[in-house]
């Protein structure tokens, strides 16, 4: 443990070279931009988390605990909008992806560094609109902004959707940048099939970001126009069709769910191999299943609309197509399991989160197939079953993978290790708290507890209470995590170049990396997962 005296933090690294606030605000270094993104999204994660805790606090009992129904409506809208548009969509691609992807490819930077910086500022601008809406008169429509209610409520729908519209540009810029980077900036020897799977996952994500995001842009333009001019496209009173709005909305927002989960899967593909010290099983299948998920994601959006009054033919078709999503997702899960099989697994924090991901995502994914089945969906639609499914995929999936990534790359980002003991405690708290919170919601959902109500029947009291306690357990886990991760930045012991004994490119350079990523131009001599042929020594 303490024998790592050889590990030193390089004197000049991207964190201190060059110095000064201005050099950060005008930086074109992808690592710094990634870090700025990380701070921004963690702020909004905190905010969204506080909203979540307030919601669960209110739901502790059926009575009015801390807020009235109007406030509650705003609260769950804010929780959804902040978590989805400000945290989870940019979380892995824009923060971790920005930091890691060029390093993994052996590139000096992303293809368009200025556009990359612009994307961060555009993100901040979009966030400002959302914050403005938040402090004035937050929307109470739910994060989906369904018409006709969203055209009638007197809350700040316009500034919120305008914020999302602007955030869309930042998402597009990131995606566009990554596609070009992967196509054009790979290091010598880095063929498509020697790329780390994280790059493949990011690539599939980026395709979705570029293809789907413009549609949400035009959707919200039309929604804003509907509010301003009453154009009659979405508002039934004016001759419009609210179900058409749902088509528009979900044509983006269903692929957006895969914008959230695909990079999570990409991280898991890395960590599962590194911490099993074993070559990844089924490399090409994992790579292509990412593209497969991206492809299928455009064909299934109608499963959000089974009870909206869309045509029966469309519902049947979308239901059938939805089942296809299970194939590439299943391929991935089984390949990860096969990778772990007979590996020498070390249960360090990133691997604990990886295992959490595998368990929770599988539950979330399979309940997704339930919901894709028309008949079952009509029974459980708009209940806590849907809420639980969504959180199992998004928090149990993406956030767990994000945390795995944070713990995996934290020593690379800062050059220092965090406290492993507290990391394990925090992971246990989050895992247990998460299941307390959301597994009960599956049960409540099947019993008919509808979502988005600020009160409920007495019969749900025990489960709602349990669920709320679970939410606070999660909160405690995150507080501990914040403390040890921040402490690591200042006091952690130097991690060395490769604390985990990983084979991918980003661990070849120093921790933290120098300004130009690599002191010498890197040349790939082995695949990213050749643990069967190459002995790597961890520097921890």
């Amino acid at each position: 443990m303490s024998t790592a005296s050889a590990n030193v933090i390089p004197e000049r690294n991207y964190l201190n070279d060059p110095k000064g606030l201005k050099s950060w605000l005008l930086t074109k270094d992808h690592k710094r931009i990634g870090l700025m993104y990380l701070f921004a999204i963690m702020f909004f994660f905190l905010l969204g988390g506080i909203f979540a805790l307030l919601i669960r606090w209110e739901l502790l009992t059926p009575a009015v605990d801390i807020m009235e129904h109007d406030t509650y409506n705003k609260m769950f809208t804010l929780h959804g909008a902040v978590m989805i548009f400000l945290f989870i969509i940019p979380s892995i691609p824009a923060a971790l992806g920005n930091f890691v992807l060029p390093l993994m490819l052996g590139a000096k930077d992303v293809a368009f560094p200025r556009l990359n910086l612009a994307s961060w500022y555009v993100y901040c601008l979009g966030a400002l609109f959302m914050i403005y809406a938040l402090v004035t008169n937050p929307a109470d429509t739910g994060w989906t902004f369904y018409t006709p209610y969203s055209t009638q409520t007197n809350t700040a729908v316009i500034s919120t959707t305008l914020g999302v519209f602007i955030l869309g540009f930042s998402s597009i810029f990131t995606g566009l940048n990554f596609i070009v980077t992967i196509h054009k900036l790979r290091a010598p020897g880095m063929t498509w099939f020697r790329m780390p799977l994280f790059a493949w996952g990011t690539y599939a994500t980026a395709i979705l970001q570029v293809l789907a995001t413009p549609v949400i842009g035009i959707t919200f333009v039309l929604l804003i126009m509907e509010r301003l001019l009453g154009i009659g496209i979405f508002d039934p009173a004016l001759g419009g069709d609210p179900v058409l709005y749902q088509h528009f909305f979900w044509f983006y927002s269903h692929p957006a769910v895969y914008i959230m989960i695909l990079p999570g899967m990409a991280i898991i593909s890395e960590t599962v191999s590194v911490f099993s010290h074993k070559k990844i099983f089924g490399y090409k299948l994992i790579a292509f299943s990412s593209l497969g998920i991206a492809f299928v994601s455009f064909l299934v959006w109608g499963h959000h609309m089974f009870t909206s009054g869309q045509s029966e033919l469309a519902a049947i078709m979308f239901s059938f197509l939805t089942f296809l999503v299970g194939i590439p997702s299943g391929i991935k899960v089984f390949n990860w399991l096969a990778t772990m099989y007979r590996g020498s697994i070390s249960l360090e924090a990133p691997m604990l989160y990886t295992l959490s991901f595998l368990i929770l995502f599988t539950i979330g994914g399979i309940t997704g197939i339930f919901l894709g089945a028309l008949a079952i969906d009509i029974h459980v639609h708009d209940t806590y079953f849907v809420v639980a499914h969504f959180h199992y995929v998004m928090m149990g999936g993406t956030v767990m993978a994000f945390l795995a990534g944070i713990h995996y790359w934290w020593p690379k980002i800062w050059g220092r290790m965090y406290n492993e003991f507290w990391a394990k405690i925090a992971c246990a708290l989050i895992f247990i708290g998460f299941n307390m919170t959301f597994f009960t919601q599956f049960i409540m959902g099947t019993q008919g507890m509808p979502r988005r109500y600020f009160t409920y029947l007495e019969q749900y009291q025990p489960m709602h209470g349990f669920s709320s306690i679970g939410a606070f357990v999660i909160g405690a886990g995150f507080v501990i995590m914040a403390v040890y991760l921040i402490a690591a930045i200042f006091k952690g012991r130097p991690a060395g170049n490769n604390p985990w004994g990983s084979l991918s490119f980003e661990w070849l350079t120093s921790s933290p990396p120098p300004h130009g990523n690599f002191d010498e131009e890197p040349v790939l001599e082995h695949g990213p997962y050749d643990y069967d042929t190459i002995e790597v020594v961890a520097t921890k």
């Binding site: 590139a107 000096k108 930077d109 992303v110 293809a111 368009f112 560094p113 556009l115 597009i172 995606g175 566009l176 940048n177 596609i179 070009v180 196509h183 054009k184 900036l185 570029v210 293809l211 789907a212 995001t213 413009p214 549609v215 842009g217 035009i218 959707t219 333009v221 039309l222 126009m225 509907e226 001019l229 009453g230 154009i231 009659g232 496209i233 004016l238 001759g239 419009g240 069709d241 058409l244 088509h247 528009f248 300004h515 130009g516």
Partner: protein
Amino acid sequence: MHDVADGHPSFLQHHFFEPEQQAEAAKLGTWLFLLTEILLFGGLFCAYAVYRAWYPDMFYEAHLQLNVVLGATNTVVLITSSVTMALAIRAVQMNKSKQAIWLLVATLAFACTFLVIKYFEYSHKFHLGQLPGKYYSFTGLEGNNPHVFFSVYFLMTGLHGFHVLGGMGLITWMIVKVSKGKLSGEYYTPIEMTGLYWHLVDMIWIFLFPLLYLIG
């Protein structure tokens, strides 16, 4: 910042190995951007398709209110501007900056003409009360919900108009770049990208014209 490595031309950014790679990256990036533009307009095309299928008679009646002659003129104007744009790029490739500037100025002039004609069309409709959505007050049409046609019309042509304005900005910037001698047969990526964008704007109008003005 890293120094420009030995032998690297001044326009080559530090993270690229050579100009060819940089140019290809820029071109791919631009095409991806155009992809987002296609899908942005795509939402409006979808709304158009749905409402035209629901109200075929109303769409026919309402489209008679548009002036085909002005629409066709604008199509000709925009196509001609596309030709001059393509020729401007060719001129830069052949290092004929003076010719390039004249062709770009011509492109800009065509773009202005397009917007002026659009302005006359719009103001005529405003005058008649053929406004989008709930501001619609024209009584001369019988069909169901004619205001939806004008909503779609103004949204599509309006969004397109904004793109023409953006294109004019880019073209002006290119005129400055060419006259400062920043672009040449060796490095002409910016004007090539501007051209791609301008052709896309033209291409979208190629579809808007028959869909809005020539409903049979």
